[in-house]
């Protein structure tokens, strides 16, 4: 027995070393993820005896039913806008990342740097800048009004189009970077091999390059969709009362109405829906591909 224990210590050291190495990360998650989520859950099940009183914990599930029944249009709109923005980001970002990865040559790092340059300005300023670019008397709106189905009353600001456009613009870098990374790693001699085996270029792209870059698309979609679904600034500055998103409601509940319980419930419902959507999405694209 005694001999076995001495042998064990060496083994045990090896067993616990990974946890020791992980401890900063685990501590971080405990402090900045788990604790806030527990507090949020607690707040979401609380009631307030009066408007300016502290919330009291009461297993009150009515916050959830109210959140779902009153704000389903905002939820649907958030996921719709975020979904469209994600698809647009793929459609715009993929060709750009592909071009940088394949034709960038020695300019690659410089070009990727350009993709990140907008982040040197504050997110708020970038969003408000669009109100100047898209103003009703501006050049862009003037050109837009020339389209046959628009007419001279047409406007871009304060429409769903402007909100989706703002979301796409603000988050597209998060799509381009992971796609670029996954494309960069592809050995493009594979496409030559495909051509040798009689594959047309488009088919070689579809059968070889696209599957290999799926992990990038998957990561990029999460990085665009999740913040876009919870965003409120684009809806606030580029939208109208008809385009409000769930982030707008949460912000108002927290800061104007001091209705912390319902704001917490809304935030948790948003988290749960996003988690479910991500799980479903990952079954289609396969997270194991992320290891590539």
């Amino acid at each position: 027995m005694a001999a076995a224990t001495t042998d064990d210590t060496g083994l045990r050291k090896g067993r616990f070393a990974p946890y020791g190495l992980l401890s900063p990360g685990i501590l971080w998650l405990l402090l900045f993820f788990l604790v806030p989520v527990v507090m949020l859950v607690k707040a979401s099940l609380s009631t307030k005896p009066s408007r300016f009183a502290e919330p009291e914990f009461a297993w009150d599930f009515s916050n959830y039913t109210a959140a779902l029944s009153e704000y389903s249009p905002e939820f649907i709109r958030s996921f719709l806008y975020a979904g469209i923005a994600t698809v647009l980001a793929i459609l715009i970002g993929y060709p750009l990342a592909y071009w940088i990865a394949t034709c960038g040559g020695r300019w690659k790092n410089f070009l990727i740097g350009l993709v990140v340059v907008p982040f040197f300005t504050s997110y708020l300023i970038r969003t408000i800048a669009w109100t100047s670019i898209l103003q009703d008397d501006g050049v862009v709106t003037g050109l837009y009004q020339l389209l046959p189905w628009v007419g001279s009353d047409g406007r871009i600001l304060a429409t769903p189009m402007a909100v989706v456009g703002g979301l796409t613009y603000n988050f597209i870098s998060f799509m381009i970077l992971p796609i670029y990374v996954s494309l960069e790693k592809i050995d493009f001699r594979l496409t030559e091999a495909a051509a040798d085996l009689g594959c047309a270029p488009w088919r070689a792209f579809r059968k070889v390059v696209l599957p290999l870059s799926l992990p990038g698309i998957f990561a990029g979609s999460l990085l665009v969709f999740i913040p876009a679904a919870g965003d409120y600034l684009n809806a606030r500055y580029l939208g109208s009362p008809q385009t409000s998103m769930i982030g707008t409601v949460v912000q108002n509940k927290f800061l104007v109405q001091f209705d912390y319980p319902q704001a917490a419930a809304l935030s948790l419902v948003l988290m749960v829906i996003i988690t479910v959507m991500v799980l479903v999405y990952s079954r289609f694209l396969g997270t194991e591909g992320l290891a590539v």
Partner: protein, 395 residues
């Protein structure tokens, strides 16, 4: 006024922007003593030193000679010269509700908030008073309080006048861009003209938006608990639903008006006074049915020492001297709550004298008669109206 931005002013405003209240007070303290040459005790973040006073206010709300809060001839520097009290002035207030969210956790536990004077809008001051979070003003230190203009004496938010003293005041009315409307606007019905569909803005400030609509429907604001504002909400909802109203904004309506996104909107007199200098097409009118008169008001939240409160009294007395009040008005261009400012501006001559005849700063009797100030809403009624307003404005 030059556009020179001193390093310290830059630091102060950057720090305030970052919400680093403690940092900015410390910087202000350093800068103040550096410039005045006196060696008053620099206070820590709490401002506990005997001869310092902490004042948290809205941005661009006091005179800045040479773009510098403490510059030569500025109110804060003059006050220090006169009393030896150094003011740690911060520009940390951006929004009444935000301010409340920030100070509520402290005041509800009886902790000091780090500022002796703050200047919330009257209704927020009324809320703080109702919650029992304010100290009485040291009126014995403030003989100049007698200079308060009659229309702002003993307001419903502070019926005895013992807890608050107005800082600046202003009107909410119709702001419009004549280049877009092509005509003068005079009534709220002009805002609902189908020709301006999708070109009308409303304020996110519930009292101003609902107030103007309610007045246009003949509903009074002075005693709100006895009134039913449902018709005003219904009208607002109708105009949102038919697309007449494009957006609900804060101060950023100023850009929308200039860029032609709004033909007209509900706006504040002080903003338009400054805008119309560069763009004469931008105009302000109090609608015939009436506009709202609001004021931001100095209050002392609980938690300050007797010495700090005394210093606050001395400061209030100083800014209620018409000479000092006129200097502030010349810069901020809102309605001054202090009697005698108009005469002082005339005496100053030049550009200041033209302000004395500006209707937006000194509204005439017929305009004043059309203005109403909101009475105090009960907690329940305010909550219900806030919720209804949020629902309609899409928040």
């Amino acid at each position: 006024m030059t556009n020179r931005v001193t390093r310290r002013r830059f630091l102060v405003s950057t720090a305030a922007l970052g919400g680093l209240a403690a940092g900015s007070t410390a910087l202000a303290a350093c800068g103040g003593s550096e410039e005045s040459g006196s060696s008053t005790t620099a206070a820590g973040g709490g401002g506990a030193a005997a001869n310092t006073l902490t004042f948290d206010n809205w941005t661009l709300y006091i005179d800045k000679p040479n773009d510098d809060l403490f510059g030569e001839g500025g109110t804060l520097a003059e006050f220090q010269k006169a009393t030896g009290i150094e003011v740690e002035y911060t520009e940390g207030i951006n929004d009444n509700n935000e301010l409340f969210a920030k100070i509520q956790p402290l005041l509800s536990k009886g902790d000091p908030i780090g500022s002796t004077i703050i200047a919330p809008t009257f209704w927020m001051a009324g809320r703080l008073l109702q919650l029992g979070w304010l100290d009485k003003l040291p009126l014995a230190e403030i003989p100049n309080a007698a200079n308060l203009i009659p229309s702002l004496q003993d307001p419903p938010s502070d019926p005895t006048g013992e807890y608050s003293l107005p800082w600046q005041s202003g009107m909410a009315g119709i702001a419009y861009n004549k280049a877009i409307t092509g005509r003068e606007l005079t009534t709220m019905d002009d805002m609902w003209d189908p020709a301006f569909n999708g070109k009308i803005g409303m304020l996110t400030e519930m009292r101003d938006t609902i107030g103007l609509i309610a007045l246009s429907l003949g509903i009074d604001l002075a005693d709100p608990d006895s009134q039913d504002y449902q018709p005003a909400f219904a009208k607002l909802e109708e105009e949102v639903a038919n697309g007449q109203i494009r957006q609900f904004t804060g101060n950023d309506y100023v850009d929308d008006l200039e860029q032609g996104n709004f033909a007209a909107c509900i706006g504040w007199s002080g903003d338009v006074a400054q805008l119309s200098v560069s763009n004469p097409d931008i105009k302000f009118v109090v609608p015939e049915s009436g506009g709202t008169l609001w004021f931001d008001t100095m209050v002392i939240p609980k938690g300050s020492t007797a010495e700090q409160i005394e210093a606050a009294g001395k400061f209030m007395n100083f800014v209620y001297d018409p000479v000092n009040a006129a200097r502030i008005t010349e810069f901020v261009q809102y309605i001054s709550p202090v009697q005698g400012v108009q005469e002082e501006l005339r005496k100053m001559g030049g550009e200041a004298a033209t302000l004395a005849d500006n209707q937006l700063l000194f509204p005439n009797a017929s305009t004043l008669a059309r203005l109403q100030t909101w009475g105090t809403l009960s907690v329940e009624k305010e909550q219900q109206m806030d919720e209804e307003f949020a629902r309609i404005s899409g928040a």
